[in-house]
């Protein structure tokens, strides 16, 4: 039994132990997952708006045939930067950032399992993003698309350092993504709340677990691909040179082996967010939990077997192509199952149509259409007609914006109160949703038509009179509406952060653990470690049981067994430190140096090694410290 006095004393003690420095030192040395995640999300949204601005320019250029507004070189850089930024600097990082914020909270943990790695990953991501945008501003931005097919991106046809900057930016973001993925796996498997067995995990945790494993298996392929590309361009290797036994298709295979799972890495976290939102706003648990988990796993596994559907037009053997048709069709099954389960949950629940649920409904309407055009693209003969046309552009925007960005916006409206302690405005949210929904469909639905009417992708202008003029104009007008929607969103965020309604711990009456603490959570997340006895902990009816025994004299997190989640060991959690930032700076110097000279890989490794030594330098021996200081509870007993 805990008395209010003890709570106060414990709170003070925890605040002292988990305090982090203020001011610039605090900014540079932070290892608190919430601080890093907030930065990560904000940075990712900055990239989102930057890339969106590029898209508006592209739509402006394409609104009329043979518009002389933007020349071919600039336009090629625009669409390359738009795709690269959206895929590498926004979509994956923002999903991982939301997970970095929520996963430790949903697990009932005090901090993420590898706090310094977390900080390092963020800095590496930030520096890589800054590098490519500075390059773009200096006219050295990528120009061959976000997937840079060789030989166009090779040494002969892409002169200068443009493609090298792109390839190295990919390396930055891969390192950052792997850093987060490794933490998510360790956190979700080993650092959940006691009693949260695998079958009691919220679906968002399952989604992030699957995503993290996918990142670990997919990222190495693109690192290999871009390393080969940099090597070809810098030192004249022949990986992609057909005249010397290389093959341009090697690039495509390596890239798409990463590239297809990449889109599911973006999509699956969104599925987790949707499950949380639907459950909360329908006030019932999601239908068919075991099937939903299996659907997530199936999505993750199948995603690795589809990549050749990006290569149907390259002249690969027909029988092989057919295999990928089947696999690409098959992946619609888990998604179909999940869509039914969510709608059924809403049907049977007592839904409240707040903004998060509006975005989920928008997700269902848009994503299912995108998924169906995906089924169309899975068919080889049909794909051979619409591949590399605006039909594909429409398809992937429907699945990415519908399937990932809409849930993300819903998630922002849903978890903003937790992060900031204030509610976002509901009316502005409704306006945000409707302008986005209508603007999106006006922009991208006509692109299906454009593709069918023969308009290829990545063209900076087009001939008048082919039947494309009208649809292009409509699409451009829709994009203006999307821009307005984004303005509403930004204003809502900025105003509500200061003057929104105070939220309280659980304003939505949700069931998962992150709602069991204050909004915003204190730096130590939970006063006492919660114990979980069911799938919806906060809906069990009674007070949430808690566990004692986790130390309060030093930073500690709890490790549990993987399946049964029984408390196992206590793990020391790293305090704030400057070494992750220094290591990230050293890594940045290595990566940027190796764009220009191959020896930078060798010489650049030295500062990296030094900073890693500083990072891992053993601290004071802790056994004596723990023995000497007994916890408050032991003293009180």
């Amino acid at each position: 039994m805990s008395t209010p006095l003890e709570d106060e004393v414990l709170r003070e003690q925890l605040e002292r132990v988990w305090a982090h420095p203020t001011g610039w030192r605090g900014v540079l040395m932070a290892v608190d997952h919430k601080v890093i995640a907030r930065r990560y999300i904000a940075t990712a949204f900055v990239f989102f708006f930057l890339a969106g601005a590029l898209a508006l320019l592209m739509r402006l250029q394409l609104s009329r045939p043979e518009s002389g507004l933007i020349g071919p070189d600039r336009y090629n850089q625009l669409f390359s930067m738009h795709g690269t930024t959206m895929m590498f600097l926004f979509a994956v990082p923002v999903m991982e950032a939301v997970a970095v914020y929520l996963v430790p909270l949903m697990c009932g943990a005090r901090n993420i399992c590898f706090p310094r790695l977390n900080a390092y990953g963020y800095w590496v991501y930030l520096f890589g993003g800054i590098m490519i945008w500075v390059a773009f501003a200096l006219n050295i931005g990528p120009e061959t698309g976000w997937f840079s097919y060789v030989p166009l991106a090779g040494p002969e046809f892409s002169p200068g350092k443009r493609t090298d900057f792109w390839a190295q930016m990919v390396t930055f973001t891969e390192v950052a993504a792997l850093a987060v993925a490794v933490q998510l796996v360790a956190q979700i498997l080993k650092q959940r709340a006691p009693g949260m067995t695998l079958s009691r995990m919220p679906l968002f945790l399952w989604a992030m677990l699957v995503t993290a494993f996918m990142v670990i298996f997919a990222m190495p392929a693109v690192m290999v691909a871009t390393t080969f590309l940099i090597s070809d361009r810098l030192v004249g290797t022949q990986f992609y040179n057909p005249a010397e036994g290389g093959d341009p298709l090697l690039w495509q295979h390596l890239f798409w082996f990463f590239g297809h799972p990449e889109v599911y890495i973006i999509f699956i976290p969104a599925l987790g967010m949707v499950s949380q939102i639907v459950a909360t706003f329908s006030r019932r648990t999601i239908l068919a939990y075991p099937a939903m988990v299996l659907a997530l796993l199936a999505n993750g596994l199948l995603a690795f077997g589809l990549w050749v559907h990006h290569m149907f037009a390259t002249g690969l053997p027909r029988l092989g192509n057919s295999f990928y048709t089947s696999a690409s069709m098959m992946i619609a099954i888990p998604s179909g199952l999940q869509i039914f389960a969510w709608i059924a949950t809403i049907w049977d629940g007592k839904p409240r149509f707040r903004t998060p649920l509006l975005f989920v409904i928008g997700f269902i309407v848009i994503f299912v259409l995108g998924g169906l055009t995906g089924v169309m693209l899975a068919s080889v003969p049909l794909d051979l007609q619409v591949h590399d046309t605006y039909f594909v552009v429409a398809h992937f925007h429907y699945v990415l914006i519908g399937g990932a960005v809409f849930p993300l916006f819903g998630a922002v409206y849903y978890w903003f109160p937790k992060i900031t302690g204030r509610m976002l405005d509901e009316r502005a949210g409704a306006w945000n949703f409707w302008t986005f929904f209508i603007g999106f469909n006006v922009t991208f639905f006509p692109m299906h038509m454009l593709g069918i009417l023969g308009m290829p992708r990545r063209i900076y202008t087009y001939k008048a009179g082919l039947g494309w003029d009208g649809w292009n104009l409509v699409a451009s007008l829709g994009s203006a509406l999307i821009a307005i929607s984004m303005l509403i969103f930004v204003v809502n965020i900025l105003v509500s952060a200061r003057r929104g309604k105070i939220a309280g711990g659980n304003p939505w009456e949700a069931s998962s653990l992150e709602w069991a603490t204050a909004s915003p959570p204190p730096v130590y997340n939970f006063l006492r470690t919660p114990v979980v006895t069911g799938r919806e902990p906060l809906w069990e009816g009674d007070d949430l049981p808690v566990m004692s025994g986790l130390g309060d004299t030093r930073r500690e997190t709890l490790c549990v067994t993987i399946v049964e989640a029984e408390p196992d060991v206590r793990q020391k959690s790293a305090p704030p430190t400057i070494w992750p930032l220094l290591a990230a700076l050293a890594t940045t110097a290595l990566f940027i140096g190796s764009i220009f000279h191959e020896w930078a890989v060798v010489w650049g490794a030295i500062p990296v090694a030094i900073t890693l030594c500083g990072w891992f330098w053993p601290g004071r021996p802790t056994r004596r410290a723990v023995k000497a200081e007994t916890s408050l509870e032991e003293r009180a007993a």
């Binding site: 020349g71 070189d73 002969e156 002169p159 200068g160 350092k161 070809d232 361009r233 810098l234």
Partner: protein, 182 residues
């Protein structure tokens, strides 16, 4: 103080990058008078310093122009006599021996004017820009171009080491035969 130095260095780096990476797609080099008139040639080649055409500087360190030069080298059959730089019935272009001078202005003049013993005159066959581009590429073949501007290889069979790895020997212009350094 250090931050100011660093900022200045960064600006310099950026400006250098700008020059290397600009792409003049529709630009047309201003027509220049032949920089080395045939009458000025001396036996023993460019020991006398020739007039330097300032237009050449824009091509020398520019990645796009060198790449175009590489394409033009292929298209206008420089391979036929000079091979991939190692020479055949024409002299090698990858080494340090420059019979008529190895500065970009001199190389361009050689291509435009033609030279004794079989080098045709390309003045009427190629535009100014193409001449400069090929001259810039020829410069890069012997390692005299900015390493960052030259590309490593083309998509053909490999017959030379990577262009951006070539290390130039001393700029000797006598015909005693220089060393090819790799």
């Amino acid at each position: 103080m250090t931050s100011r130095v660093a900022a200045f260095g960064a600006v310099l780096l950026c400006l250098a990058a700008c020059q290397r990476e600009t792409r003049a797609l529709t630009g047309q080099a201003a027509p220049s008078a032949p920089a080395v008139a045939p009458g000025e040639l001396r036996a023993g080649g460019g020991l006398a310093s020739p007039p330097v055409d300032p237009a050449g500087a824009a091509y020398e360190g520019n990645a796009f122009e060198i790449s175009e030069g590489q394409r033009n080298y292929d298209w206008f059959n420089c391979y036929g006599c000079h091979g991939a730089g190692g020479g055949d019935i024409g002299p090698a272009l990858m080494d340090d021996e420059w019979r008529y001078g190895g500065a970009i202005t001199q190389i361009r003049a050689s291509i435009a004017d033609g030279r004794p013993n079989g080098m045709p005159s390309f003045r009427d066959k190629l535009t100014d820009r193409q001449l400069w581009q090929i001259a810039a590429y020829v410069r890069s073949m012997s390692g005299r171009a900015d390493k960052l501007a030259a590309s490593s290889r083309n998509d053909e069979m490999r017959t030379t080491p990577p262009t951006n790895q070539a290390r130039p020997g001393p700029e000797q212009s006598d015909t005693s035969g220089g060393e090819v350094r790799r």
